[in-house]
Symmetry: C2
Subunit: 362 residues, 2 copies
């Protein structure tokens, strides 16, 4: 056997079904995808920036993401040398683990949470300590209690995926006080743009404490999921190591120009946020009307507790051309996740859910 | 210290200077890049396929690269489950190492060769056995002699970069006979499309022996370096593990559609190869005329032995707007590498090289 020990125990990540795949499998012409927390728009000015770059596809991208780095650093008020770009923020999670984990190191994660922490920590051979969420929220106190001399990293998805919950400034402040400075704390803030105002100011904590990595993405509010680009903000030292071990051309040309256009023009991002928050409000109201249990979310998706196995409902929706996200991969077989999409998509989802419930198909 | 042992000893990969960077630094309007073995063209039908995809940038790519996988498997006459796609073939090299290397495992590589093997093997904590090339060719016999009970992987860049040399069918056949089947042999064939007809039939060796990975790229003859996509062909078992541990959306949308368009239409690839081989012939003739020492190459670049430090020449060429690749990163300070570009680029390179030599600047 040429493989490392332990790889056979890993369950691979199962993505939300792509539109193309559902069209193929069910012979449908129109399919709405509310499964992967994408935003429904592609803004014109980003399309234009991307289209202009098509002539350069035969040339390697700039390895340092020069212009993007400069502009993002200015916007975030950090040094350029504090930034690391990844082929999606999941590559950054992988890089952090690859740079740090040695035999017997422990990694503390929540459960249920974003699955990539566990998969990639397992690939690196870490011992994974899973701390259950409490009322579907990160239980920071219980996580802090699990720290030992062998703890290398704690991952905090904030807001969390798939629950949509978040931990606030005060909770994080008191949590960090209880964590030895030798432990790296990673805040995965893929959805932070959708969160309320008491969301933690992690850049301040980074300044004071060091040994923190904040990961973010252009896949969500900026609408660039198809291009694959995320970024990490951390100390210059940590960023230096991550930049040294990443592949030299990990960010493709299109991702660089699209993210640059996005950074330079925040108007669209703000408009998206407003649209999404309004649509989430629509979903809340309608779900309440249908007497369906759901959680308030700090993201662009809603977690629904169906109180029974969602398998049949999920198939019903697929046949109607609506893809939601069953959460069996997280061990939550009674739950599913629905993204706030275009208004007409959300309306159709509610209509189909209602007809499923009406049909005595509960 | 939160980092793994050994990372401080790693020298990061230094890419060829991008055109944008040289323009910025030297205030030049026209810059020719002959540094990164890119092809000079972007074919129209690929541009069109990419442009059509711009509307979907807000959607995650298909995690399996469904259509591309299907079409490439057909073309290569392998099973779909034998393929792994990477964010450039350097990601595949990293994945292979991540899937296999445990403490004390040994990895055998040539020297000088593609730098990513050494960097990523070091990140994974492997013991690296460097076997010098002999007359700038891979010395397979000496590599075979270094196999021990701890050898996990042997990397063979074929053709090699930066030397441009290759090992042939007979050499590889007798090499593989001497290597225990427990050792994974990786053939990195990034440039194989440019190689002569006695190039090894590695697919046949894979069928007979198993435990072989062949990596290839769309960055070279297909001209998609800016998009980042490469592929590996191996056993179903090895492909299964690599697919399990890769990030779920490692191949962006544009890379998938561009590679699909490239696979479906080989005409352009063949035209490129013809163009490049003709231009390489031009470089050979002119270098000979200038009495400059160079090696015959099985790739789209030429390795030049300048017989003295290339630092001054390199600066001279940069000021003239020509980027070649100094090889100090490989410890070859008297050598440089020049890509066969557009004819007018190659002509200008030869003209500038001649004027440097004429000016008594030798």
């Amino acid at each position: 056997m040429i493989f490392k020990k332990g790889l056979d125990k890993i369950t691979p990540y199962e993505p939300g079904k792509p539109i193309e795949e559902v069209k193929r499998a069910l012979g449908l012409k129109e399919v709405y995808k509310l499964a992967s927390n994408e935003i429904p728009f592609t803004p014109d000015y980003i399309r234009k920036a991307v289209s202009k770059e098509v002539k350069n596809i035969n040339r390697y991208p700039e390895g340092s993401s020069f212009y993007l780095r400069k502009n993002l650093a200015l916007k975030l008020k950090v040094k350029e040398s504090q930034l690391v770009f990844g082929n999606g923020s999941d590559e950054l999670i992988t890089l952090i683990l690859r740079a740090t984990i040695e035999d017997n190191d422990e990694v503390i994660i929540g459960y249920p949470t974003f699955l990539v922490y566990e998969i990639q920590a397992a690939v690196c051979g870490a011992k994974i300590i899973k701390v259950p969420l409490y009322n579907l929220r990160y239980d920071l106190r219980s996580m802090a209690k699990r720290v030992t001399g062998k703890t290398k990293i704690i991952f905090i998805a904030n807001p969390d995926n798939p629950t949509g919950t978040y931990v606030n400034q005060e909770e994080v402040r008191s949590f960090l006080k209880s964590i030895p400075k030798s432990v790296l704390v990673v805040f995965d803030e893929a959805y932070f743009e959708f969160a309320p105002s008491d969301f933690p100011k992690t850049f301040d904590f980074l300044k004071k404490r060091g040994n923190i990595v904040i990961t973010r993405t252009f896949s969500k509010v900026y609408g660039l999921a198809g291009l694959r680009i995320g970024y990490a903000v951390t100390t210059e030292k940590i960023a230096g190591v991550l930049n040294k071990i990443r592949e030299p051309f990990n960010i493709n040309r299109f991702a660089q120009v699209a993210a640059l256009a996005a950074v330079k023009n925040d108007k669209f991002m703000k408009a998206t946020r407003t649209y999404v928050l309004r649509e989430k409000g629509y979903l809340y109201r309608e779900l309440k009307r249908l007497n369906v249990t759901f959680g308030k979310s700090a993201t662009n998706f809603v977690l629904i507790d169906f109180k029974k196995d969602t398998g049949r409902l999920n198939n019903y929706l697929l046949k109607k051309g609506i893809i939601v996200r069953p959460l069996t991969g997280w061990g939550l077989k009674n739950y599913f996740r629905v993204t706030a999409g275009f208004h007409k998509e959300n309306v159709k989802f509610i209509k189909c859910l209602a007809s499923y419930l009406d049909g005595g198909l509960k």
